[in-house]
């Protein structure tokens, strides 16, 4: 079996499962945020069960509209706080204490290799970077998980991506995953698992692996996953409590399809408006004028991303009439960036630093676009209206490409700076 099948077999107390089978699985961890949580709470009350199935396995994070950007959001936050108190939810990350939910889940040790994690957020697939099976569900289904701790899941087919070669300077994980989505399409892995392996993946740090798995959903995948190795065990050592039972794909595991990729010729990639699979090499869109550059989100708002951005803008200035918005993905990332002087470097270059939130990426607050404006963003979606006006254009790229573009005021190949 491959890693996804093994995790689903373990979670459903079976020796073996195969693609297409429907299993009833026990959920190890369930996560909600301030967009999906209130609806899950309201629905949980309708079911009529008094107590959640396990108050130690539920994580609640306020991240999409923090600090509350309207009285309505404040009401939703209040509703979540009350529920957490009433149900004695052990892990509740309030404004200022957490950050973007997926980054918080990983940093705070809620993601353990070999476990099944359900999140009421589509980017829950991020957790595969640590060898967990993470997948997104909606609020009603989460209410049922709160009540029962169980969920039915179809065992997915798996597509494997073996990645070899060597990245050019300023080309990396984001360019790789954009190029894969461009090749297979926005529904290229619909209902399936995407598994990543090969020397390039093994050389990658955890941050880059999170970026890759995070965007699996943009190809429709149920999860993105990587068999855990020493790097993962070293990363979680200081963060995770209790026993860990990592699972890995067998050498003879079955895959629906295997892609062998070579990253050596890969140039920086850009997803053009208004779908994530509309991917072009940066050379084809270089020179496109921008109004805003955004670095943040669960895809690319980690310390490694801020280091790249700071390195590129250090001692330089963001182009006149362009705004560079930086949103560290979590409190931990923010603090680390502060200690390393990155926030100072970025601010001196003209960047606006925001608190950790899904804000601009999700089109909530702190960096929305007006009619006719163009943004280049390190986030994950460029749908019409995603970041504000439906008449704005969004290009997706790596933090390096975004930072380079902010300096020139137009889409720029970071290798040429």
């Amino acid at each position: 079996m491959n890693i996804s099948e093994k995790i689903l077999a373990r979670a459903s107390c079976r020796k073996e499962v195969s693609p297409g089978e429907i299993v009833e699985a026990n959920v190890d961890v369930a996560m909600v945020n301030d967009i999906t949580g209130p609806l899950a709470i309201e629905t949980f009350r309708k079911i009529g069960v008094k107590k959640v199935w396990d108050n130690t396995r539920i994580v609640m994070v306020l991240d999409h509209q923090v600090p509350a950007d309207s009285a309505k959001s404040a009401e939703l936050h209040k509703m979540m706080r009350r529920f957490a108190k009433e149900q004695n939810i052990r892990y509740f990350y309030d404004v200022g204490l957490g950050g973007v939910c997926h980054q918080v889940m990983v940093e705070k040790g809620h993601v353990r290799p070999g476990e099944l994690i359900l999140g009421a957020d589509s980017h829950t697939c991020t957790y595969g970077a640590l060898g967990a099976f993470g997948t997104g569900i909606g609020s009603t289904e989460m209410a049922a998980v709160f009540a029962t701790g169980k969920i039915w899941l179809k065992v997915p087919e798996t597509i494997k991506f073996n990645v070899a070669g060597e990245f050019q300077k300023f080309v990396g994980a984001k360019d790789l995953i954009l190029s894969i989505i461009g090749q297979i399409g926005a529904d290229g892995a619909n209902y399936k698992a995407m598994e990543f392996d090969g020397p390039v993946i093994r050389n990658m740090n955890i941050s880059d692996r999170l970026t890759i798995c995070n965007m699996a959903v943009e190809a429709g995948a149920k999860t993105g996953i990587i068999s855990p190795d020493r790097k993962v065990m070293a990363y979680i050592k200081k963060r995770v409590d209790g026993q860990i039972k990592p699972l890995k794909s067998d050498a003879d595991a079955r895959y629906e399809k295997i892609f062998d990729l070579d990253v050596s010729p890969l140039e920086p990639q850009v997803a053009c408006p208004s779908s994530v699979d509309n991917v072009k090499p940066v050379s084809e869109v270089e020179g496109t004028p921008i109004d805003q550059a955004f670095i943040g989100s669960c895809t690319n708002g980690r310390i490694e991303d801020l280091r790249v951005a700071a390195k590129i803008v250090k001692g330089k200035k963001v182009k006149n009439n362009v705004r560079l918005i930086i949103t560290p993905a979590s409190r931990e990332v923010y603090l680390q960036a502060l200690r390393e002087g990155l926030l100072e470097t970025l601010t001196e270059a003209g960047a606006c630093i925001c608190n950790p939130t899904c804000g601009a990426c999700f089109g909530g607050q702190m960096g929305l676009l007006a009619d006719g404006e163009t943004c280049i963003s390190s986030s994950n979606r460029n749908f019409t209206g995603r970041m504000g006006s439906p008449k704005a254009d969004i290009y997706l790229a790596s933090p390096a490409t975004v930072a380079a573009s902010a300096l020139k005021g137009e889409i720029t190949d970071p290798r040429r700076l």
């Binding site: 999906t36 079911i47 008094k50 569900i137 909606g138 009603t140 289904e141 926005a186 439906p390």
Partner: protein, 168 residues
Amino acid sequence: MKVRGKAVIFGDSVNTDVIIPSKYLTTLDPNELAKHVMEGLDPTFYEKARGGVIIVAGKNFGCGSSREHAPIALKHAGVKCIIAKSFARIFYRNAINIGLPVVECVQILEKTDNDDELLVNLAVGEVVNLTKNLRLQASKLPNFILEIISAGGLVEHLKRRLGKNGKL
């Protein structure tokens, strides 16, 4: 289980951000959400859908965010069923869980025009275009999913399974 209504056609990859933009997600009131459904793609949709319609679409319907506000807004605007070439998986589950029938039918876009009268037989997996007198094969939903839909969604389904002591 059968559903009947007039077709309203959309294309490929209709994502949840256009079904219901994030700026409206601060409300949990389904009727308020319904007023803004699809407004970026078709500002007249809410008016059109009020009598009860069936959405016909291409591939990957409902891709993007996990927001359940998307199928809720559609259902409360008057959408009785969605027939698409394929669905994004979270949307598909969300729709079933709130009792909105979703059916996969490969030929649907080519064989349907706006305002055609459609009859969907969920248990059999068939779409009948009454206007054009055509029968199209569609995906047949497994029994346990039909049970959830006929109960009106997952909550009602779970309530039926709940014992008197509130335990499952």
